[in-house]
Symmetry: C2
Subunit: 345 residues, 2 copies
Amino acid sequence: MRATIADIAKEAGVSKATVSRVLNERVEGVGAETRLRVKAVMERLEFEPCGVARGLATGKSLSVGLVVPDIADPFFPLLIRGIEDALRGEGYGLFLCDSGLDIEKEKESLRKLLEKRVDGVILNSTMSDCDCQLDLLDRRLVPYVLLDRMIEARPSAAGVYADNRKGARMAVEFLLGGGARRPLFINGPAELSVSKLRGAGVEEACRDGGLDLAALLRGEGDYSVESGERAVDSLLGSSGSKQGASRLPFDAVFAANDRMAIGALRALRRRGIGVPKEVEIVGFDDIEAAHLVEPPLTTVAQPAFEMGRESALLLLKLIEGKKPRKRAIVIEPVLVIRGTTRPRQ
Amino acid sequence: MRATIADIAKEAGVSKATVSRVLNERVEGVGAETRLRVKAVMERLEFEPCGVARGLATGKSLSVGLVVPDIADPFFPLLIRGIEDALRGEGYGLFLCDSGLDIEKEKESLRKLLEKRVDGVILNSTMSDCDCQLDLLDRRLVPYVLLDRMIEARPSAAGVYADNRKGARMAVEFLLGGGARRPLFINGPAELSVSKLRGAGVEEACRDGGLDLAALLRGEGDYSVESGERAVDSLLGSSGSKQGASRLPFDAVFAANDRMAIGALRALRRRGIGVPKEVEIVGFDDIEAAHLVEPPLTTVAQPAFEMGRESALLLLKLIEGKKPRKRAIVIEPVLVIRGTTRPRQ
DNA sequence: CTGTTAGCGCATTCAG
DNA sequence: CTGAATGCGCTAACAG
């Protein structure tokens, strides 16, 4: 059987309390020689403290929960690495839940995390226009931080986001700066906060660029490559044939993530439409595949690792009961210019 | 404060034992009317059982640990989805650790999981030629299953693997069948079991194909796109210029994963070498990017979701103390033919 | 500096 | 069918 502090105590001829003290590295309260003896016994008996028992006694589990909509989306793994990076140093463990883009599963995941008594939760919610998920957390007074997507009904919730409005704005400004007059904007699911913010950024850029907003072409996808392809197909007709370039209803595409942008790229190339010659494309995220496609994708890079890391650091502060200076951290995206846009000047 | 079974008991006018019985859905041992009353109180007080306390009392935490080498590698997220899928139904939670390709971090992760008292571990180890990780697990008698990579010193350990030898064989046979005579094999890190098995498969296919093994070109990478690129660059000289096709030292490339295959593809195209016209390429894994590159990558597909799922199901059996029929599950890979190889017949 | 005494929230005998 | 008692492994006052 695994050794317990009782075993250690008996073997070392001290009380459990003393063992507990050396276990927790309490500087005061135990003599140097005793400490050494206890440590030796621990070593010999291969003692390994029981996190469960500690959790029950202290009321903290040293673990946090993370809920993401779809871990297969290449944007998320980097977030996770950032989170892990910040957590590892503090000795926290990470409970991972994938909600599969389903708000019911998301709530179920949160309930499970609550039962596990995680000390806090990082939530990348699949739904921005409902706060029923947060009700669960609030009711239990469990600290949480939103990641990547906000919950509109809770503007004051702690969170870490990219500046989506600005990122979208940068993308479209760049396209207009290259001469585009009829951009197509393929947004993500309308309910998501990121979609609304990116939409706002797009409109801003159009207005500033002197474009008629009513004429702005719009499509919507679900962040998959296929949905990006469909968005273009539905505009050009499903025939694979090329139309005269002058007949194209758009001369540039901005997609709300790289996968859809790549889908658009594929649909265009399938028709023999030149990218970036006839149509320029800009994506969002900067996933690995972005520089692997041909031509490599110009995109608005989100610093995913950093976002994950910041969210974990923020959560740890909340767990410790500190009031962080900023409950909302906004991270600046960066436009990465590659091959789906023409060289400027 | 959160309600405990003591609160429920008092409120319902019963004992804690009775509350515990209804909580655990014990059919016998509690009257229908009492049960209803207790349930009503639980509802009203928003009772939520404490997993930590239950864990301490029962000795099981209803959670399993997973250690992967690098969650940013697109092969792993699908494994995780499979694992989650199998676990969710059984009410288990998943502790995730990323070892960052570092065996020391891997061991540290395992220790952390042991402290958390996970009921079992799924290990995708970063090192096949050492079993020090498993010593940790064995010493504590914690059930575990290896995933994707075996540990050579423990041939009888439970595990779920793709048939790597066969997959590699299929790939090379296909290349030779297309007329290749001077294949280049870019393997992964030499220490990994998967590398050795794939190497064996490659050699088998070469032998059967009447090729001189000594003439087989070999490269080694670390599974990154860049390392695949380097492998080709070092063979062709770092100059970006094209050599005469007849001067190429190889006429086909088989890479041990898709990312390196894509790297090779890039290096080739950068030189203006035709793929698949002058050189054919086959990868391994079938990650999403495989069908996004140009031309789309022919590859040996590993059913990652299924592998993850099977590993979790196997682990659950071990946790329940059952002796599963097969402690090692081998899953068949499938050759997916796309554009980096020429049409056959 | 060290030991004693109580819990933490729940499951599990064993009685009744 | 139900309740009282005990313990899981550890921490945390409180005394010496």
